[in-house]
């Protein structure tokens, strides 16, 4: 049996982690605001950007 590519597995792991991070109930956590910007706005774009960064780091590795 050929083993699955590690890159695909890492990407899928990021995808699986993204689901709970970007749905309720975790989305109920950020409250209030930071520097006048709502915390939930920062949280959503921050986590989303973080996932994208991880995917970029994994996807652009050699091999």
């Amino acid at each position: 049996m050929k083993r699955g590519s590690p890159m695909r597995q890492r990407l899928a792991a990021v995808g699986l982690a993204g689901w709970p991070l970007l749905t309720f109930p975790l989305l109920g956590l950020p409250e209030g605001g930071i520097g006048g910007i709502p915390a939930i706005y920062l949280y959503l774009f921050g986590v989303w950007g973080g996932l994208i960064g991880l995917a970029a780091w994994i996807g652009e590795q050699k091999g």
Binding site: F24, L51, G59
Partner: protein
């Protein structure tokens, strides 16, 4: 004030630019220098962002706050499952899949029924979506000219039709260049990627303008919104919407693959699998960027125009710049919106026209008597014609729907309704890729069930809401049955209409698919296709393809078929390529075998879809009907053959390992053999030296009886010492041989190593005194005690001490013996201040017959066996013997013997 002519000019110039980009992309592709890179591929995926995103997101944000983000988070997460996408790509490339309908139909036994069903669902779900894009173009024009008297510019009254016509022209030119639908439209993809850049730039520009131009930055917008009571709710997520949030992520995650235009771009237009590695993050990054300013613009618009003003939130991106006199920006935004709309319409129309032509028109055409009457004519032109007509009709349908629906809810809300329609493909598509048991009957049942539920709970209610049909079934349930209320089926309440539809339709779809699949038996073709799709990575598909076809066909008929559908030139080109690949000079000499039939079918599949291709090939080839059992047998056999070959491979590897080991052992043996030869020749040499001198001196005494007494005494003295040396040598050789063969006799007892050292020093004392070499010891008074053979250890000590005295200089020589306990070991060191040893010598002196000093010039001072024997002895007792030395710095011979384990 914007002039209508100016806008028309800009729009025309922009569309012209699109044509130029597409032309350039095609020219480069024709020249073999594709401009489709990973970046272009990733950008072309952004065809996902239609005018529904460009204008509609702001509108959604004004009512639902951040919930519009779900539509973009879903695709981000879905793309991360790149393994699924790569499997789809591999299957599609291997079997020349032309569309999502073709993919599903091919998996379930190349079923025309299934292909048609998928096409119908797609057309019903998507045409209104195309209409929505046209409406967006029309609405944006209306806003741009809102202040102008309509009568002044009568020509733009139907500007939407003009746009639709331009799009039709573009799509016909760049979307149907080749008959082979699996061939990529690189010019079109390049144009789409270009449009993606334009719409992103336009949206970011208006976002920055609103946030930093009209307001004082992000924080300012949010703070002002928070101060307004009717806006502050948009800044928080409503936890009661948790269910909708999750289902919208799921829905959009499915849509990114299942929308016909996305399937076209992701799968059919893919040039290289590795481009996915870029797309997996670049496309989500695009989505993130295009969404950053949506909420600020929505809030800005509401703050500026007043929440209750009734201003259309969908056009805030246009009205905000215009209200502040930024007309150039408004034109840029208009162009961005035009990009979003046209990109979607172009790709969607290509995808739909391929499906309509291959999966609706072709099956009907192939059955018609007219086509059969034209047996010999070239149909390739007709095929392209059908596809072009399909493009025009689809666009026309979209335009008509747009005109007919106007402001109706059925059009405005179509975005997610379309998503829900294509989500119905998910169970049969993913099930087909990973579950061999899924059957055609199951797929049809699942699709029909899901489609009906979608119609009843989403599409028809949207018609009712538009006032086109009565809304009794929504308000009171069908036939007045309460539990049949369209948007709270079986009393399910508390979620929005889309989530309600999604859960019920997927339940019905998946349920029907699984239950029917488990209760039906696939036919031979289905079973074969299931095997090929699911095991695409494991199967070298060629082998089973040829195994699964048995029958007869004539070359002439097959070639005739290809010429008929591909055109003679293209058929000749493809056949020649195939012949070259098979190593046959001309395709006229090709043997008709299963492989050739498969080649012909695959070529046809690329042009007319797998289902129709199958029918056409079957019409000229007499295929033996393989039963299901036979097919399964063949597949099992193929699996077994693979297993055997794997086993064989494993065995071969084991064999190679064993061979290598044997070779190594053989090397070692030969080395030993050589060493034995060396040993014998060295031993004989060593024995001969003393013998020679004994013999020479004896002969001299024998032949010269009158030799002087003094000479005789001297000669006899030498003879005696040489004989002693000989005896010592022979004793040591015997000793060595015993040690090496393990036949040496050992007596093990408690031995006081300090005493051993002292005894050895005593017995060699005279030798040291004769040479005036200082011998000192640093030895404890009693102990340490080890378990060993006392005589043997004395032998080692004497050997080391006699070596030392041999190599130090007379008068100035110093030798020091140290006995100490170091951890669990007793460490005995004999250090001298002789000439020392080089690193190389440090290792060779432990070999047999190797002596320190220059053996070429100096008289040998020992037998060369002392150290090897000593090492054997020390190692026998579990210790080690080594030397630490550097040239000129003396040598330090050290050996260790383990202390006995402490008694418990």
């Amino acid at each position: 004030m914007l002039s209508g002519w100016f806008v028309a000019l800009v729009a025309t110039a922009y569309v012209g630019l699109l044509f130029a980009v597409a032309r350039y992309g095609d020219a480069r592709a024709d020249a073999g220098r594709s401009i489709i890179s990973g970046n272009v591929y990733a950008l072309s995926l952004a065809v996902y962002c239609t005018s529904w995103t460009f204008y509609g997101s702001v509108g959604r944000a004004t009512s639902g706050g951040l919930s519009f983000l779900t539509i973009y988070i879903g695709p981000t997460l879905m793309l991360l499952f790149a393994g699924v996408l790569i499997k789809m790509l591999r299957i599609s490339k291997t079997y020349r899949i032309t569309s999502i309908a073709d993919f599903i139909a091919s998996r379930y036994g190349k079923s025309q029924l299934l292909a048609g069903l998928v096409t119908v669902i797609a057309v019903i779900g998507i045409v209104p979506y195309i209409a929505l894009q046209l409406k967006a173009v029309s609405a944006s024009l209306a806003v741009l000219f809102g202040q102008v008297e309509a009568g002044v510019l009568p020509w733009w009254l139907d500007s939407t039709l003009l746009v639709a016509a331009a799009l039709a022209l573009f799509t016909v030119l760049f979307g149907t260049r080749h008959l082979d639908a699996t061939e990529r439209h690189e010019g079109m993809v390049a144009a789409i990627a270009f449009e993606s850049v334009v719409k992103l730039v336009a949206f970011l520009a208006v976002g920055l303008f609103v946030t930093y131009g009209i307001f004082g930055g992000l924080a300012d917008v949010f703070q002002r919104a928070a101060a307004a009571p009717e806006l502050s709710r948009l800044l928080h997520l409503d936890a009661t919407q948790a269910g909708s949030w999750a289902s919208l992520i799921l829905l959009s995650g499915l849509a990114i693959i299942l929308l016909p235009r996305q399937f076209q771009i992701i799968v059919v237009e893919n040039v290289d699998e590795s481009h996915l590695r870029r797309a997996v993050w670049l496309f989500p990054l695009y989505l993130l960027l295009i969404n950053v300013f949506v909420l600020p613009i929505a809030l800005g618009g509401l703050l500026h125009f007043g929440a209750q003003s009734g201003y259309a939130a969908d056009t805030f991106v246009l009205t905000l710049p215009m209200a502040h006199g930024a007309e150039a920006l408004a034109v840029l935004v208009f162009i961005g919106g035009l990009s979003a709309a046209t990109g979607m319409v172009i790709v969607e129309t290509i995808a739909l026209s391929t499906m309509v032509c291959n999966d609706l028109v072709m099956p009907w055409l192939l059955r018609s008597t007219w086509i059969n009457a034209q047996k010999r004519s070239d149909l390739s032109g007709l095929l392209i014609g059908i596809r072009r007509v399909a493009i025009v009709i689809i666009l026309l349908l979209g335009y008509i729907y747009f005109r007919a629906a106007g402001e109706a809810y059925a059009l405005v809300g179509i975005g997610l309704i379309s998503f829900a329609a294509v989500a119905q493909f998910a169970p049969v598509l993913f099930g087909g890729m990973y579950w061999k048991q899924g059957t055609r009957a199951g797929a049809v049942a699942g699709l029909v069930a899901g489609f009906i539920v979608w119609m009843y709970t989403l599409l028809l209610p949207s018609f009712a809401k538009s006032g086109w049909i009565g809304n009794g079934f929504v308000e009171h349930g069908l036939f007045g049955l309460e539990w049949l209320k369209a948007q709270s089926l079986f009393g399910l309440r508390g979620m929005d209409a889309i989530s309600h539809c999604l859960w019920w339709s997927l339940l019905a779809n998946l349920g029907a698919y699984v239950v029917v699949s488990l209760n039906t038996r696939p036919d031979a073709l289905e079973a074969g296709q299931a095997e090929r799709f699911v095991d695409i990575f494991r199967r070298a598909h060629r082998d089973t393809d040829s195994l699964l076809w048995r029958g007869q066909a004539s070359l002439g008929e097959l070639v005739g078929l290809l010429e008929r559908f591909l055109g003679p030139a293209r058929a000749d080109q493809q056949l020649s390529a195939y012949a070259a690949q098979r190593g046959v000079g001309s395709w006229h000499k090709l043997k008709v075998d299963a492989d050739l039939v498969h080649f012909a079918e695959a070529e046809l599949a690329g042009a007319i879809g797998s289902a129709s291709a199958r029918v056409m090939v079957a019409s000229v080839a007499q295929e033996e009907d393989l039963g299901l059992d036979e097919v399964l047998d063949i597949l099992d056999e193929a699996t077994q053959v693979r297993a055997y070959s794997k086993e064989l491979e494993a065995k071969q590897q084991a064999l190679e390992v064993a061979t290598a080991e044997l070779r190594e052992a053989n090397e070692r043996l030969r080395e030993l053999d050589r060493m034995k030869d060396d040993f014998i020749s060295t031993v004989t040499h060593e024995l001969r030296t003393p013998l020679t001198s004994i013999r020479a001196l004896s002969e001299m005494l024998h032949e010269d009886p009158r030799a002087a007494l003094a000479d005789r005494k001297r000669f006899l003295g030498i003879i005696v010492s040489e004989a002693e040396r000989l005896t010592r040598l022979i004793n040591q050789i015997l000793d060595m041989a015993k040690l090496e063969s393990g036949r040496a006799e050992w007596t093990t007892a408690e031995v006081d190593l300090g005493e051993v050292a002292r005894e050895a020093m005593d017995s060699l004392g005279q030798l040291y005194r004769d040479k005036h070499v200082a011998l000192s010891g640093e030895i404890p008074d009693s102990g340490p005690v080890v378990l060993a053979d006392r005589d043997r250890l004395v032998q080692v000590m004497i050997n080391l001490l006699s070596n030392a005295v041999k190599f130090v200089a007379a008068e100035t020589g110093v030798v020091k013996v140290t006995v100490e306990t170091d951890g669990g070991m007793v460490r005995v060191a004999v250090a001298d201040n002789g000439p020392g040893l080089t690193a190389e010598e440090c290792s060779v002196i432990f070999e047999k017959f190797r002596q320190g000093g220059n053996t070429m010039t100096d008289k040998p001072q020992g037998t060369g066996l002392g150290l090897p024997i000593s090492r054997q002895i020390v190692e026998y007792f579990g210790g080690a013997l080594w030397v630490e030395s550097q040239p000129g710095a003396g040598a330090n011979f050290i050996f260790t013997v383990p202390l006995p384990a402490a008694d418990e």
